[in-house]
Symmetry: C2
Subunit: 432 residues, 2 copies
């Protein structure tokens, strides 16, 4: 039996004497052993520590938290005590971290079993990682939370954490056919995490389904679930930004929206006063300027060891003055306030999670442009599995909420997931 | 009990129902679990495969080969079927290898249990790896067989294979206080190994002691041990090359030679007609010219992802014409023939294995200049633990033989090892 237990199954079992934690962890370790040579989702796996933590969870009389005994992967941008933090480069992180990052401490507090560190792209930027997409070895898993998304998709862990500065949670989760949440900016503390762009970096979660996503979110934030009392109200985003979506994804998205309408969702439209697309240059310059400062010290010593794309970003960012950077931050605040005024209340915006399915191009990690504007605005975003495109690859539905409306967003995502059904396993994974 | 079994203990046990293979492998896996976060010797560990192979070895009635059930690490420059080959770069090796390299097939044939892939520097050149020296986290383990030497030194495997193009086996083994053999050029076939400089690349072995080294060599080459009938004859190398040796290593070396003399060895001197040191520029130009050609295709596509030192080597090598390269190869042949004429028969040359103990400088991998001339000449070299310097770090004795005299060299090394005693464990490793 290789299919990993879902987080919801773990929670339902309640942990009383069933050794569910050990069983769940062993299934994940089996999948790592079996699939890791081809997938390369991990930089480090702490098997014995994970087994011991699972055994300790199983010895407890009652469930200790929403993630009691759940096998979780940590993007290798976060410190885990005793393990190195590479941040996407083989030469970095030569000292094991002395203490857990804030996010990891929250997860442990919620009962999670930390299985290992998942591959991130170099500095969580766009340079391609070695990680492959379980849906096809020639496909990028997306980035920068490449390992977190691929590991969940391959059943190597039950949930994972990631970060999003552009589209680094939503895009890889969608490409890998699983679910992801990028919450409101600033919800989870970044202590013990390598920064890329502090005005944009947002910590979030990846899991197979919206149901599991909610439990991961509860574990990370302490915020319990909310239920919808009636069918949700959705608004399809209309913007020049959507011109980037290809015909295959457009088709799956349209028919998905029709299914939701048929199931009872009220479907409207949303178009912002200024095109959402116009936020992209602000996002990109802000990220460059902040990245150059975030890695300045390390870059001064080891610049030539950085990967090409992050190197180009840092070089660009060096030319952005402090005054320009202040201007960009002011533009971010202004755009955020405008969105807060414009955006409908108690309505989730919907759009595709990425312009295409996972590209068959391992020289990059795909296009984050359908995600980056929402990251700039600091509003929460979720992706769930929507359906398979003609090429057999998964397409994600992206839902956007207002600030701090994670619970509504997650409840809406669960409702939509009930309509679409849970994601299938890629061929060769899951129940095989 | 964490001390790994020695290969000699395994061979003596004979494997009859004692489950020695499983015990040996478990001890190594325990050490990996415990020490790997700080040491970073591995790019991939195949725990379940290793356990299954060990269990299969234990089920056999009698020992199947010299390495029956021995836990071995493979420098991540060699293909192991089903696992990726990174060659020192996180972005490389995105496909698992389809078949074993020739060296790995030989080891498996001799009964070895393959535990995992050990860290190599990028393209097996001089860029520092993340691997640390078990003798001190601020010390380089040397390179390019960094992971193989550190893994053996930390008790994470019982033996390992490596390659030497300059000083990539002898230097890391000496820095990490273990034993290494770089055999005669061409003894072991390089099929399934990433090349750096085909006129220099030599496959060899690392183990804790000269005794274990002999068993590893038997497993890799099929060539059984030889015994000395009397105390060996040694010749101390005198050459400008030795001016590079610092006072601390010089002191340990001198007192070691005196111990050997006291124990009965006949000690002479050797100085070549032309200084051995004069071979260094030939070595370095030959390596650059061949490296540029060996990685040309990959470099054309991904040049900027290569690490700085290998990049500089390749750039230098591009300027070396095919005619110059032919001239360098002719100079290599000439030097080799001159050495064959000059070198005494049935005598092993001795000199320190490196000019210093492991440097406290993680921006490089130390100085291979006491090793590179012998690599150029294609003659076999061994390093064994000689003693500890004032700084508490190990010093190696390097023994050089004539071509294809591995058996004499190994027998002499065993004799010397009996005089010096086996290497101590670094603090915190071994029987703790």
């Amino acid at each position: 039996m290789r299919r990993p237990l879902s987080i919801a199954e773990m929670a339902a079992a309640g942990g009383r004497g069933e050794r569910r934690a050990s069983e769940g962890v062993e299934r994940c370790l089996n999948n790592i052993e079996r699939h890791e040579p081809a997938i390369r989702a991990w930089t480090f796996v702490g098997r014995e520590e994970a087994r011991e933590a699972a055994a300790a969870a199983d010895r407890k009389e009652r469930v200790g938290g929403p993630l009691h005994g759940v096998a979780v992967g940590i993007k290798d941008l976060f410190d885990v005590a005793g393990w190195p933090t590479l941040g996407g480069a083989i030469w970095r992180g030569t000292e094991p971290a002395s203490t857990d990052s804030e996010a990891v401490a929250m997860l442990r507090g919620a009962g999670a079993v930390i299985v290992g560190k998942t591959v991130t792209t170099d500095c969580a930027y766009l340079d391609p990682p070695a990680t492959k997409n379980p849906w096809g070895a020639e496909r990028t898993p997306g980035g920068s939370s490449s390992g977190s998304a691929a590991a969940v998709a391959a059943g190597m862990c039950q949930g994972a954490i990631g970060t999003q500065t552009g589209g680094s949670i939503i895009r890889p989760a969608a490409y890998c056919g699983v679910a992801g949440l990028k919450p409101t900016f600033g919800r989870i503390g970044t202590r013990g995490m390598l920064p890329l762009s502090p005005s944009l970096d947002t910590i979030g979660v990846i899991a197979r389904t919206a149901v599991d996503l909610g439990l991961m979110w509860e574990g990370l934030s302490g915020e319990g679930p909310e239920s919808l009392t009636s069918a949700p109200e959705l608004a399809v985003v209309e913007d020049r930004l959507l011109d980037r979506v290809d015909a295959a994804v457009r088709g799956v998205f349209k028919s998905g929206v029709e299914k939701l309408r048929t199931a009872g969702a009220r479907i409207g439209r949303f178009s912002a006063r200024a095109p959402v697309e116009s936020l992209l240059p602000i996002h990109s310059a802000l990220m460059a300027g902040e990245a150059a400062r975030a890695v300045a010290r390390e870059y001064a010593s080891y610049g030539e060891r950085f990967s090409p794309k992050i190197r180009a970003l840092v070089e660009r960012g060096k030319d952005i003055s402090n005054e320009e950077l202040e201007g960009l931050r002011a533009a971010q605040v202004e755009a955020t306030e405008a969105f807060e005024r414009d955006a409908p209340r108690d309505v989730c915006l919907v759009l595709p999670s990425a312009p295409t399915t996972a590209p068959a191009d391992l020289s990059g990690t795909g296009d984050p442009s359908l995600n980056a504007p929402w990251t700039l605005l600091g509003v929460p975003a979720v992706t769930i599995f929507l359906g398979l495109a003609e090429d057999g690859l998964p397409v994600g539905l992206q839902l956007i909420g207002r600030r701090r409306r994670e619970r509504l967003l997650l409840a809406t995502a669960r409702w939509c997931e009930d309509v679409f059904g849970p994601p299938p396993w890629p061929r060769g994974y899951g129940d095989v």
